[in-house]
Assembly symmetry: D2
Homo-oligomer: 332 residues x 4
Amino acid sequence: MTEAANEIEIPESPDIETVRRLFERCSNWGRWGPDDQLGTINHIQPADIAAAAGLVRDGRVISLAIPVDETGPQTGGFGRFNPIHLMIRDGNGALTGTTVRDFYGGRDRWIRGTDDLLILPLQSGTQWDALGHIIFDGKIYNGYDASEVGSKGAMRNDIAQLRDKVVARGVLLDLPRSRGVPWLEPGERIHAADLEACADAQGVTVGRGDIVLIRTGQIAQCRDAGSWGSYAGGSAPGIALDTAPWIHDRELAGVASDTWGLEVLPNETDDVFQPLHIVLIVGMGLLMGEIFDLEALADDCAADGRYEFLLSAVPLPITGGVGSPVNPVAIK
Amino acid sequence: MTEAANEIEIPESPDIETVRRLFERCSNWGRWGPDDQLGTINHIQPADIAAAAGLVRDGRVISLAIPVDETGPQTGGFGRFNPIHLMIRDGNGALTGTTVRDFYGGRDRWIRGTDDLLILPLQSGTQWDALGHIIFDGKIYNGYDASEVGSKGAMRNDIAQLRDKVVARGVLLDLPRSRGVPWLEPGERIHAADLEACADAQGVTVGRGDIVLIRTGQIAQCRDAGSWGSYAGGSAPGIALDTAPWIHDRELAGVASDTWGLEVLPNETDDVFQPLHIVLIVGMGLLMGEIFDLEALADDCAADGRYEFLLSAVPLPITGGVGSPVNPVAIK
Amino acid sequence: MTEAANEIEIPESPDIETVRRLFERCSNWGRWGPDDQLGTINHIQPADIAAAAGLVRDGRVISLAIPVDETGPQTGGFGRFNPIHLMIRDGNGALTGTTVRDFYGGRDRWIRGTDDLLILPLQSGTQWDALGHIIFDGKIYNGYDASEVGSKGAMRNDIAQLRDKVVARGVLLDLPRSRGVPWLEPGERIHAADLEACADAQGVTVGRGDIVLIRTGQIAQCRDAGSWGSYAGGSAPGIALDTAPWIHDRELAGVASDTWGLEVLPNETDDVFQPLHIVLIVGMGLLMGEIFDLEALADDCAADGRYEFLLSAVPLPITGGVGSPVNPVAIK
Amino acid sequence: MTEAANEIEIPESPDIETVRRLFERCSNWGRWGPDDQLGTINHIQPADIAAAAGLVRDGRVISLAIPVDETGPQTGGFGRFNPIHLMIRDGNGALTGTTVRDFYGGRDRWIRGTDDLLILPLQSGTQWDALGHIIFDGKIYNGYDASEVGSKGAMRNDIAQLRDKVVARGVLLDLPRSRGVPWLEPGERIHAADLEACADAQGVTVGRGDIVLIRTGQIAQCRDAGSWGSYAGGSAPGIALDTAPWIHDRELAGVASDTWGLEVLPNETDDVFQPLHIVLIVGMGLLMGEIFDLEALADDCAADGRYEFLLSAVPLPITGGVGSPVNPVAIK
C-alpha cells in the first residue's frame, strides 16, 4: 500500500501543482453519483457498524470532547471565539421569587425551572467539518458551486447530511506513545509511513470505513504548559501531504486529530494554506475532525492494548451547518 | 411491580401533597452519596453497555433529533426561541474575493473556508435536561441549594457531568401503535399500566439501566397538521403521576418522549405545574429527554419487531449547562 | 418645485424602466467626489445645525423609538427577529451570594453589579439604514461594488460613517392629522403633492439639509388593533415613486417614517420590490429611517403648532454596520 | 463649596464605614418620591435644555463613542466581550445570486438588501450605566429590592426610563491639559479640588443639571501604547471619594469619563471595590458614563476655549436594560 503513497512524488518544495495532482489522485467526485453529499462516509457499510459494535467488551465510554465553555483555545482568528453560555433563568430567581414573577406570570405552581443558551461558533471546539466547509477553485466536494454555501448556510454538503451517520469502527494511532515521547513537537510532520509504523507497533490495522484518530499529543503539551498558547492556528504537528493517498487507498471514512487543523503547520506548501483541507475535504469528501481530546482514550488504549473501538460521534443535525460541535465517544 | 405503583394512592384530584408523597417515595437523594451528580445514570453498569452493544445486529443508525434550525417548535415561551444559524464567512465571499480580503489578510493561498455560528437555547429542540434544570423547595437533585445554579450556570448537576455517559440499552414503547391509533390525543394520560401493557404487547421488558423512549405520536400529529401549533407548552399526551414509582422501581436510567415536556398536559394537578419534573428530576435524579423524534425509529421497530437497541445519546459537555441539544441515535 | 416631480412621467404601471429613469434623475453618484460615503447627509451644513438648535425653545425631548425588546414587530422575515435581552449577572445573584462566588472570585468587597447583553438584528426596530444596506445592479451608493459589503460587513458606506452626523432640523409631516383621519390605510400612496399639501397645511417648509419625518399613523393603527399584525413587510401606507424627485430637489438630508419600509406596499411596480430603496438609497444616497414612533411627537406638534425641531438621531458607530438601532429625539 | 466635600473627613485609609457615611451624605432616596427611577436626571429642567441648545454656535458635532466592534477594550472580565457583528445577508450574495435564492424566495425583483446583527454586552463600550446596574446591601437606587433586577432584566431603574432624557448642558473637564500633561497616570486620584481647579483654569462653571465629562487621557495613553492593555478593569486614573459630595452639592445630572470605571483604580478603599459606584449610583442615583472617548472633544475645546456644549446622549430604550451603548455627541 505504501506504493500508493509514492505514486505521486511529493517534491521537496511542494506547491499548488502538487496539491492539484494529489487532488486528482484522491478525488471522489462522482464516485457515489452526481448528487452525493456524504463523501467518504459512504465507505461505512451496515455490516461494519455491526462489527464495530462487537468491539464493545467492557462497557467503558470515553469522551473525546473538550469542554464547551469559555476556556477553549479560540483567540479570535477567522472570527471564532470560545462558546458563550448565558442563563435565561437561574436558580437564584427561584430563591428570590423572580422566576415566578417573570416566567410563570406570577402564579406559583411549585415548580421552578432554569434555562440556558449558547452562542457557539461551530468551529470553536471539538468538531466535525462539513463537506461545505472548504472551497477550492470555486467548488465544494463533488463539484457543487461555492454559492451553494450562502448566507443561509450550505444548501449542499451541510453537516445535517450526517444526521444518522458517524457510527463506525474507530482506531487510535497514538504517534507519540509509539515513539516513546510525550508529544510530537509543533511543526513535526506525520508521514504515511509514520502512520503505518504506528499501526504496526500497536498491532492494529486500519481499513475501509474506519475513522482514524491521530494523536499528536499537542493537547497534552498545552496542558503541561498550562495554556493553549498558539494552539488555534499556530505551529502544530500534523499529517503531511503524502498521507492523502494513504487515506484514500485505505478508504477511511474519517480522520480526526487533537490539533486545531489536523495538518502540519507551517504547511509544506508555501503558496497553499492547509493544502490537505483542499485535497481531503474538497477532493476526497473526507469527514475531518479537529480538536479531539485523545488523552484519556490514549491512556485507556495503552492500558488494555486495544486501539480499536466503537466510535459514536454523530453531529447535531444543524440545517445548513458547515460544521458541528460533537462529543465523540469511544466505547470499548 | 405494579404493586409499587399502587403503594401510593393517586387521588382523583392530586395536588402538591400527592407530589410530596411521590417525591419521598421515589427520591434518590443520598443513594449514591452526598456528592452524587449523576442520578439514575448510576443505574447503568459497564456490563449493561456491553450487553446493549450486543443488540446491534444490522448496523442501522436511526437519528431521533429534529433539525436544529428555525423551523423548530418554539414560540417564545420561557424565553425559548428556535435556533438561529448565522454564517461568519460563506461561499459567496470565496467567489467574489472578500474571503481573501477579510479573512486571509489579502493573501491568496488558494484555500477558502466557510464558518458558522449558532445561537441556541439549550431547551429549544431535541434535548436532555440536566439535573440542575428543575428546582423544588429551593433545592435541586440530591439536596443541593438552588443557588448552585447561578448566572454562570450550574456549579452542580450540570449536563457536563454526563460527558461520558448516556450510552445504554434503549427501549421504545410505541403507545399509539400498540393501540392501533396514529397518535395519542392531547391531554391523554399514559399510566404505568399503559406502559406495562405496551411493553407486553411489544414483547419487550424494561429494567435497570434502560433508557425508555415513550412514543405518543404527537410529532406525527403535528406533521399531519402541517404545523407545530401549540406543541411547545400546550396540551399534550404524556405520562401520568403513577408512572413515577413504576420508573423508580424498574431503576430506569432515563426516559424521553416525543413531546415538549414528557408529562401529560394539562397536568393532573391543578396546583402544581409539571409535577413529574419535580418528582423525577429533583427527587429521583432521572435523566429526562424531550422533543425526541421517534417516528423513524417506530417504523423501524414495527418492521423488524425489535424494540430494543443500543442508544447513544451523549450530550455536549457544556460546562454549567442545564441542558444540552443532542442527536440521539438508536443503533440496531 | 412640483414641476421637478413631473419631469419624469410616472406611468400608470411603472416598472424597472421607470425605476431606472428615476435613479438617473435623482442620482448623487460622484456629486461629492468618488470617495463619498455620506450621501445626502452632505446637504447638512454646520450653519444648519446651529439654526436647528435655535428651534429649541421649551426644552422638551421626545423619543421616536419603539422599545428595544421582544415585543417588537418582527416575525422572522429576512432573518430578522425581535431583540433578545439576556442578563449576564442579575440582582438575584447579589441576594443569594452567587455574584460574589462567580464574578468576584469569592471575595466580598461590598459592591454587587449587574450586566446584560443584547442579540440585536440591526434592522429589527427603530433604525437608520446605512447606504450599504441596498444594492442595485451589483452596486451600492456612489458606485462601489457590492462586494464591499462582505461577511465582515460594509467596507464602504457603513453606518459608522455617520458617527458624528445626523443632528439636523427635523420636520414632521403628519399626513393623517392634516387630513383629519387617525391613520392612512395600508396600501395608501403618499404622493409628492400630498407631502407638499401637508407641509402647507401645517405652515412649515422643508428644504436643504432637513430630515423629514413622515407620519402615516400605522403604529397608531397597530396599537388600536392591539397587535403588530403584518406590520413587518405587509401592506402599508407609504411614499409613492413621484416623491423621489421631490426629495431630491429639496435636497433633504434624510427621510424617515413610522412604517416598516417607508414605501407604499404593495409597491407601485409589480416587477420591482421596494423601488424607492433603489432610487433613494443606492442612487440618491439618502439617509432612510424606518419604524420611527411618531405618535408622541405628532401630539406635541399638534398641541403647539410647531412642526420643526432639533432632531438628534446619531447612530451607533458600528464598524461595518449596514444599519443601526437609534433612539432619535426631537428637541423643541 | 469645597467645604461640602470636607464635611465628611475622608480618612487616610477609608473603608466601608467611610462609604456608608458618604452614601448617607449624598443619598437621594426619596428625594423625588418613592417611585422615582430617574435619580439625578431630575436635576435637568426644561429651561436648562433650552439654554444648553443656546450653546450651539458653529454647528459642529463631535462623537464621544469608541467604535462598536471587536477592537474594543474587553478581555472577558465580568463576562464582557467586545461586540460581535455578523451579517445575515451580504453583498456577495447579491452578486452570486444567493440573496434572491435564499431571501426573496427565488423571485428576482431587482432589489438586493443586506442585513446584519450585533451580539453586544451592554457594558462593553461607550455606555451609560442604568441605576439598576449597581446593588448595595441588597438594594438598588431609591431603595428598591435587588430582586427587581431578575433574569428578565430590571423591572425598576432600567435604562429605558431615560428614553427621552440625557439631553443637557455638557461640560468637559480636561484634567491633563489643565496640568500640561498628555494624560494622568494609572492610579492617580482626582480630588474635588482638582475638578474645581480644572474648571477654574478652563474658565467654566459646573452646576445643577450639567453632565460633566472628566478627561483623564487614558484612551490617549492606550492609543500611544498601541494597545488597550489592562484598560478594562486595571489600574486607572479616576475620581476620588471626596468628589461625591462635590457632585452631590452641585446637583450634577451625570458624570462620565474616558476610563473603564470612572473611579480611581486601585480604589482608595481596600475593603470596598468601586466604592463610588455604591455612593453615586445606588445612593445618589447619578447617571454614570464610562469609556467615553473625549480626545476629539478635548482638542476642539482647547482650540476654541469653550468647554461647554449641548450634549445629546440618549440611550437606546432597552426594556429591562441595566446599561445601554450610546454614541454621545457634543454639539457646539
